[in-house]
Every structure is written in C-alpha cells, then in structure tokens.
Amino acid sequence: MTKELPADPHVALVATAGGVEDGPLTMADGTSLKSAMARAQFRARLRAFLLVLPLLAFVVITFIMPIGELLKRSVYSPNFHDNMPNLVAWFAEHPPGTEPDESAYAALVADLRLLKKTKKAGLVGTRVNYELPGSRSLFTKGARKAKKLEPPFREALLKLDPKWGDPALWQVMRGAASPYTMNFYLAALDLKRDPSGKIVPVDENRRIYKMLFGRTLALSLLITFLTLILAYPIAHLLATLPLRKSNLLMILVLLPFWTSLLVRTTSWMVLLQSQGVINDILVALGVISDDGRIQMMYNKIGTVVAMTHILLPFMVLPLYSVMRTINPSYVRAARNLGATSWTAFRRIYFPQTVPGIGAGALLVFILAVGYYITPALVGGSDGTLISNLIAFHIQKSLNWSLAAALAALLLTGILILYWLYDKLVGIDNLKLG
C-alpha cells in the first residue's frame, strides 16, 4: 500500500512503498517523512525570507527607526535631567509640594555653575522654556553670573532675578527633572499642570491644538465627501465606456499625478486669489463688483478646493477598479425584474460599489488628515491643518517633543478611525485595485 505525498514542489522525497501499514511514513533511510518535509519547507521559507530581507532592512532603518525615535521624543526629554544633577538629587529627596529651601537653591547654583562649565545652559533653558515661556534667558543669565553668587543663595538668586522664586518655575523644573514626561501630550491637548501638579486646561487665548485637530478632522471629512461625490460618476463612466474612450478619460484623471504637487497648488492660487482668474471673470461678467471680490484663498475654501482636486484620483481609482468588475447584467437583471433605474442603482449597483467607496474614502481621508504643502500654501491662518503646526514645531520652534506628541495623537486618531471602519464596514471588504 502506498500513501500519496502532498503535492509540494519543494518536497521531492520518496516514501518507502510497502512501509508499515498504519505507522508513520518514513524515508528510504528510515527517518520520519514528517520531519524531512518540515526541513525542506523550512529551507524554502528561509530562502523567501532572505529575498525580502534587503527591503525589510531598508524599511526598518529609514522608516521605522526614525519614527520610533521621534515618537520616543514625545515622552523622553533628558536635557534637564542630564545636566542638572544636584537639583535632580534634591527633587528626588524632597516630595512634591515641598517649599524650595536654601539647600534647593544651593543645588541650583551648583548646577548653574556646572552649566557654565559644560555650556549646556541653553539646552536646559530651552527645555524649561517649552513649558514656561520666557525662562530660557533666566538660565543663560544665571549660568553666566553663577560664579559670583555668594550664600545665602536664595537671596542672591532672587536679587539676580525675582523669577527664580516663582512656584510655577519650580513646578516645571521638578517635572523636567525626570527624563520621562507626559507634559508634551498635555500641551498637545491644550492642558498643563498647575503649581500643585493638577492637570488643568491652558488659558483660553493659548488653546490652539484641540481646535486644529477638530478642524483637520472636519475638513478631511468634508474633502472625503466632496471627492466621493465628484469621483463616483466619473468612475462609473470610466468603467462603462468602451475601452478606447475610457483610456483617454483615464489619462485625464491621472494627468494631475504627472504634474508637480507644487505646480498644481500654485495654479489653484492663480485661479483663486482675489486678483485671480475666477474673481476677474466674475467682475468682468458683473456678477460681483470690483470691491466685492470673493476671498477664496488663505482660508478654508482654498484648502478644501485645492485638496479636493489633488486627492480626487485617489478616490477615482479604487472606485473604478471595483466598478469595472461589476457586470452590467446585474443592473439589466434588476431592470428586467421590474426595478426602476433609480431602484436598480440604489439596491443593486450601489451596494456592490461599497468596497470601493470604503477604500477610496479611507485613502483620501488618511492622506487629507496628514496633508501639509497645500494647506501651507493656500490655507492662510484659517485653513491650516494640524500637520502645519507639526511642521512649525519641527522647523521653527524646534520643539520636536511637542511635534512628536502631536504626530502621535494624530496617528492614534487615525488608528481609532481605522478600527471603527473595520467594525462598521470590515477591512476584508476593502478593494484597492
């Protein structure tokens, strides 16, 4: 009796014919067939792994590691901790809420003298400055003058600058004494710690991030909706036209992809600005007066219009790829069975395009949430998104920790939406092409 071998091309093994009737199958040399096959399959898997290894290494080194490093910055900020050893030790010995006494000021002066030597006063000052604006100079000046200070240090420092006695400053320094902090996340959510350590909202005129997160979400949803409305008929046309015409139309859809994003955005600026093409035409036609030119740029309208245009292909393509697979006979069958064209669309065609809508909407939404160039150029102050603030903190204010916290929150938000989408629609239903 012979048993059939699984049809695995990697296993060119021969089982002993006429072997033990019901016992395990063995090789000609008596080893177990099962372990021999496992060995052969392991080699095949190893080879496959080695083939993808270069890409894996590339992604890890250039993508995952930098992002991990940046995300780490959102909670890890060691500048104060590393350069102020005496004060850190004092904070460790005294529980929160302790009034800073002479020993604390002595430790502070010792650290300031150290900063002078190590030339790190700027770094430490910057760290404190993130949470208490205006304190950077306190540290640079303190370090410069620390050598001349005589005990009692409390009076000496307060004479140098009365700000050194500010309880808020001591609260911030205590927080900064630990290299790990959640304060950047608090800041990213318009929250802060008051001198007693309680989490409270920041002053009303300083609240900005929550509003920006909200605006980013709202504008992204609006843009997703607009692209869907505009892309659906075009995708349908693409999917139903004869091949030659649909190819031409497809080129028109893809044309924007072949032009630089910057060019497309600036051409929208040419069109939309108050001395631009659209306003000029409207004025020439007498629809609006010369003084009543519509402000379509440097506000939300500009951002929405330009981004809708730029993201449109990302909606058209998944929709098209799904619609192409829908046999026209479904709608014919529905019509034949007595449905009006509207019912046939609503009950038969539309439900079958839902995977494409889901894929396109997810794609456009995620791209829109992180969009940067277009809102930066046409958004003005009213139409900027959270990514513009992230860029600001990375390039201008150099507060990378806050930028990282904002980015992490954005990522979390997207992951939550993705999870919701999976619950409602199902990721398996996603069709990208």
Partner: protein
Amino acid sequence: MVEVQSQDAFVEFDRVQKSYDGETLVVKGLNLRIAKGEFVTMLGPSGSGKTTCLMMLAGFETATSGEIRLDGRPINNIPPHKRGIGMVFQNYALFPHMTVGENLSFPLEVRGMGKDARAEKVRAALDMVQMGDFINRRPAQLSGGQQQRIALARALVFEPELVLMDEPLGALDKQLREHMQFEIKHLHERLGITVVYVTHDQAEALTMSDRVAVFDDGVIQQLASPQDLYERPENSFVAQFIGENNKLEGTVEGYEDDLVLVRLADGAITRANPVKCGDPGSATLISIRPERVWLEGEANENTTEAEVLELIYLGDHLRCRLRVHGNEDFIVKVPNSAGHKHLVVGERTRVSWNAQDARALDPL
C-alpha cells in the same frame, strides 16, 4: 408546423431593423411571430443578431425601425421594468450581495407585494426548482447548476407570461446541461409560459424547442420545427449549421420528373431533390445527411465508388471518412452492431443514397 398568424401572435417582430453604428444592420427586416405557450429558440453563430433580438424584446436595446408587439401591444417605447418579461441571463446575474431568498424576493418587492405573500411565493418558486434548502445561501456559495436553478426561479417568481433565456446553460458541463435542458422543458410544459430561448448549441435547440429560428447575418434563415429543420433544411447555411452534413458541389444540368440532374466536380451526374437550386448551368450544393447513406447497400438511383480514408471508433458507431466524387470529407456513420461489415482504411467500397435525401441547395 403551421405559421402563426398575426392576430394569434403573443410576441411579434414586425420588420424590425437594428443598427448600432448607423452603417451596418445587425438585424435586417426581421419578421417573427411567436404563439402563446410556444417554446421558440433563436439559434445561430455569434454575431448573427439573435442576442440583439432578445435584448430588443427585453427592452435593453431599441429597434432602429419596425415594431415589436407583445400580446398585440407595441412595446418599443415601454421601459424594460414595465414590460413584465422574465429573463435568465447568460451569467445568471444573481445579485452577489443578496441571499438566494432576497434575490427571489427582489422582483416581488419592487412590485410592492407584502412581506408574507412574498415569502410564500419565494418558497413556492424555490420548491419548483428543488432549491428550497438554499434560501439563506449567497450565490457565491452555490455551484453553477444551483445558480442556474436560482436564476430560473427568479425569472419565474413574479409569474411572467413570457420568459427570455440568453444562453442560460452555456457555463455548465455537458451532463448538467443535458439535465437542465429537460428541467427547463418540463417547467415550460407545466407552467404554460412562452419561452424565447437563445443558444448557439444546435443540439440544445433541437431538444427543447417547438420551433427553431436559425439566424445568420441578421436574417432568419429558416423557422421550423426541429424535425423539419434537420430533415428538410431550406438552404445550405441551415444544412451546414444543423447537424452533420455531406457536401457535394456541382452545376445544374437539367430537370427530370421531380428531380434535378447535377454534374459534380469529378464529371459524374447525380440525381437530387431540387430544394433551392437555379436554372440549368447554375451552381448548386448537394447536402446529404451521413445517416442517410448506406455502405455496400443494394443498388439505388445514386450508387457510387468510395475509398475509406479514416475510421474513428465512437463506441456505439464508427465514423467513416470516405472519398466520394472527389470529396474527401464524406462522412458515413456505421452502426457498431453484430454482423456489420468490418472496414479497413484504404479499402474500396460502394455507397448509395436516395435521390430524395440528396437536397440540392444554394451554393455557399
């Protein structure tokens, strides 16, 4: 079969023309009358216009000229959903996002039928095709034959008087196809509905239909019962298209009694039944069915020399390819019965046929 008169016709095509591009006609001056309860098949090669005719009847194409009437009423301007015609599509077109039950319920729902009445009808329609247990399945979970039954049930569930079928069995394997042919035929007999069936499979057409319309080049070449079509083809195309056919080319020599004398390519004169041939001197094509030819038979009005070129064993019979009058593709079917002569390749023998069975038709 008698011609259906205009006043009796349930479905009537009246000089219908169809052109897609305004240059060429896909359907040319079609006249077709179908009686109530009849099973009519449109048979023809692809591109012959048969599917276009069906689509015009269903309302998915509009006739360029002419009129299509259903039960005496012109339907040219009635949209498809108001025609009340059932249809089985080539790929079944079962809605993939609905269960079998929802698929069947759809035509009733859009007609505004109540929930209970719907459930009852759906149940009855499913039982009719023996698929009652599958009501909650999705089409993708069914085999081709099962999908076919569901498509049939869906086309019948709203009780249309006319059902169109567009090559409904094309995707099934041979055995299942033959089985479904009988089922469709029996359903047609039991329900008394009118069926217009489109296929390019001549065996299917002959098995199922009351009448068959053979299409070619946008024209009905012959409209007749399966028996007439096979035994009395009116032109070369039909003779070629339906069943197997031995062709002998020649020219008309003259007429003798009710037979025509034809001079064949090798110079011999043979007698044939003049069906569609012209005056003396014109070209003609003689068509003889393989089963109407005898090997080694008694002398007949048409007996001639033949050489065995090839033998193909087919179990119940042998296909024997011969050279007859210079034609090397002359096929004779030899029953595989006891006592029948055993042929060998290269052997010389004699074949004969009745002059009535040799039909002189138009040249191809």
